[in-house]
Every structure is written in C-alpha cells, then in structure tokens.
C-alpha cells in the first residue's frame, strides 16, 4: 500500500510499504494492505514502518510524529501531521539536553500557560528521544 506522510515542512514519506503502526486517540493500530476505510486522529508518538512483508522487526523504520489525521483507503494511507522526524535525523544528545531544559521549565513554571507549554515540550522531546534510541538500537543489531 502507498504511504504518504505529509508535514508542514513537506512530504516526508511517499512510497509503497507493507505495514504501518501508528498511535491514535483510541490506541495503537497496525495498518496492513486492504485495511477497512477509516479516518482517525493520530496522537503524538512513534510510528513504525515495515517496508516489506518479510522484513524482521529489526528493519522497522521509526519516525516521531506530532498530532494529526490518518486517512486509510483501500490501497493508500495518508498521514497528515505538523512535524515528523526520522530517528536518523535526530541527535540523541541534543534531544536529551532539550528534554532537560523542558523539565526544568516545567518545574519552574509560574502559571498554567507556561506549565502547558512545558508539558507539550516534555512530551515532544520524550517521543523524539525514544525514536532516536530505537534507531540507535536497531542500527547496532
């Protein structure tokens, strides 16, 4: 099936894949070819792509995504999110530093607005860190 992952910074993925695992508001779903037609809301988290049927779990590709919309039709999956990053494009050290800053910001938040912003940042960097770690682990296998 064709996967098109579109972000505000351009089309990130546009190719034939076998399986897509994506976090949604109703839990994580795995999408295979001929999945029933569905439009649902994607949650900020990690998506995994299996390119070919026989690919092992070690060959899964991981991306960190923000909230968005998933549209599944017969032979096509459209994923619309603000931002998406491949594990290989994320620097683990930079994300760790950013996460520490966000945690500090959360602890020192003076009002609800700052606290909400800090929570969002913590969530975002946690997801990015997970993707970077997954990428590193699988690269070494």
């Amino acid at each position: 099936m064709q996967l098109t992952l579109t972000t505000l910074l351009g089309t990130k993925v546009d190719r034939i894949i076998y399986e897509l695992i994506v976090p949604t508001v109703d839990g994580e779903i795995a999408i295979f070819p001929s999945h029933e037609p569905l439009v649902t809301l994607a949650k900020s988290g990690v998506i995994a792509i299996r390119n070919k049927k026989n690919d092992s779990n070690d060959k899964l590709e991981y991306l960190a995504i923000t909230d968005g919309v998933v549209k599944i039709s017969q032979k096509k999956v459209d994923l619309l999110v603000d931002e998406a990053d491949y594990g290989r494009d994320i620097s683990e050290n930079e994300v760790k530093a950013a996460l520490e800053r966000a945690l500090k910001m959360r602890d020192e938040a003076k009002d609800q607005v700052e606290l909400d912003e800090a929570h969002q940042l913590v969530n975002r960097h946690t997801v990015r860190l997970r993707v970077a770690e997954l990428h590193r682990r699988h690269r070494h296998n």
Binding site: L8, P37, T40, L41, G68
Partner: protein, 289 residues
C-alpha cells in the same frame, strides 16, 4: 577641491561599507534560497487538508462548522508580519502602509480592531500608533511549525474567534512571488474558506473515529495553521529577497561612489603635481632672468 588625504580616507571608508553590504547580500541570497524552498514545502499539506475536508463534506456539512460560518464583522483581528531586522529596502514600510490602510478601512466601516504584531519592526511601529489595540507582540520566530510562538499565536487566534471576541481574522504579510517580485497581501484566515477539491474514490462505508465532528474540527484547525504558517514562510522569503536586492543596490552604489572619488582624487593629485611643476619652472625662470 578636497585634499587627496581626505579623499583617500573617504574611498577607504566607502570600500569598507561595500565589503559589508556585499557580505550581507551573499548571506541574504543563501537564506533566501532556503526560505524559497520552504515556501513550496507546505503546499502538499494544504492540499491534503483540503482533500480531507472534501471527503468529510460527503458526510457532514463542513460549511456549518464554526470556523467556516461567516458572521457580520464588528470586531476584527489583524495579524501583521514584518521583520526583526532592518536594511531590507521597502519591505517593512510596504507592510506598514498596508496596515494603516486596513486601520483606515475599519475606521470608515466602524469596525473595532485588534492587532497581533510579528517582528520587532512591527512591534515598534504599532506601539507608536495611538489607539492601536495590541493583543500580542512576537519577535524572533524561527521556521519550525512546532515552535512555541507559532502555536501560541495560532491557538490565541482560534480561541478568540471561537469565543466570539472577534468576527474575522486577517493576516497582512508579504507574498513571495519570485526573487524579484514580492507583494504585500491581506488574506482572510477566519472564517476559513472551504477549498473543495475532487474527492478521490472516497469509499461510501468509510468510518470516522472518534466521530465525524471531531475529525472535521482537527482538519479545520490544521488548515488554518497551514495558512498562517505559509504566510510566515512567504514573509521570511520576501524579507531575505528584498534585503538581497537592497544590499546589491548598496554594493553597486558604493562601487560607483568609490570610482567617482578615485577619479576626484586622481584629478586633485594631478592638479597638485601640475601646480608644483609650474612653481618649479617659474622659479627656474626667475633665477635665469
């Protein structure tokens, strides 16, 4: 005529300025190329959001969603995008002009307005205007859509519109057409325009989770976000482009000025030599007499 020493120091100073403007021109050219590529990047996103809306319109009345419903405009929010730095030719003054025009229009139509200023130059400008109701000022925005400032702007616009505090949101920015041509534009963000596209093969038994209404709400928000983000990208590309042209003109002018000054200096030097020769030959003549 100025002395050769004065002219020499002026030539030196003009050449130094030329080096600076040349460097700024090259920096702007490189930033413009990157910004220009970015302006094209969000096109597929808007297209995808419009396709989703078209699919949704088969199941619900998209036009009835609060973001798309037009109401009589009594209060309007104007989001104005200018730059943080100067030396970009007429970039900021064009935006200021467009903004003032909109304020005058509102005055005539008896519409109350509020402003969100983006960019240091804009914030300095709006604070100088009497009776301008400034709701927010944002400086130093980068070009990441997930950055805090962009989200804050977007959420506050949407919230004000939803609460009914404002009836319309317009954005004033410079549309990037190409590296030579940029135009100040006023675009309506809210109520949003419904961009109906050919909905391709939407299956009749498609399911929406959690519900059609919630999916529509998310897609509509994304469409508005994309429009604001696109305006920011366009503004950025236009700024770099206009700065590049302004700096190119400054470099050319500096070259012309340096040439003129060199000519004047050579003339002054030659004049001094001729005078000295005349004096020497005059002296010799008087000795021989």
């Amino acid at each position: 005529m100025a002395s050769t020493q004065v002219l020499k120091s002026r030539i030196h100073s003009v050449k130094n300025t030329k080096q600076i403007t040349k460097a700024m021109q090259l920096v702007s050219a490189s930033k413009m190329r990157r910004a220009q590529d970015a302006t094209k990047a969000s096109g597929p996103y808007t297209q995808a959001a419009c396709e989703l809306l078209s699919s949704l319109s088969n199941y619900t009345s998209v036009e009835q969603h609060p973001f798309f419903v037009k109401r009589p405009v009594k209060r309007r929010l104007i989001v104005v995008i200018a730059s943080d730095k100067g030396l970009a030719g007429a970039y900021n003054s064009n935006i200021f002009k467009a903004y003032i025009e909109q304020l005058k229009k509102d005055d005539k139509a008896d519409i109350k307005n509020a402003t969100i200023a983006i960019g240091r130059k804009m914030s300095q400008f709006v604070t100088r205007i009497e009776d301008s109701n400034v709701m927010g000022v944002y400086e130093n925005l980068n070009d990441r859509p997930n950055q805090r400032k962009f989200k804050t702007i977007l959420y506050s616009i949407i919230e004000m519109f939803e609460k009914g505090e404002i009836d319309a949101v317009d954005i004033i920015y410079t549309k990037f057409i190409n590296s030579i041509s940029q135009q100040p534009r006023v675009d309506r963000v809210l109520p949003a325009g419904f961009c109906k596209t050919k909905s391709e093969n939407t299956s009749p038994d498609i399911r929406f989770e959690p519900s059609v209404k919630e999916v529509l709400d998310v897609v509509a928000r994304r469409l508005i976000g994309a429009q604001v983000f696109q305006a920011l990208l366009d503004a950025r590309a236009s700024e770099h482009s206009m700065r590049m042209i302004a700096m190119k003109n400054a470099t050319d002018n500096a070259s012309d000025l340096a040439d003129d000054l060199t000519l004047a200096m050579n003339k002054a030097r030659q004049g001094a030599i001729t005078q000295e020769l005349a004096e020497i030959s005059g002296g010799v003549e008087s000795l021989n007499a």
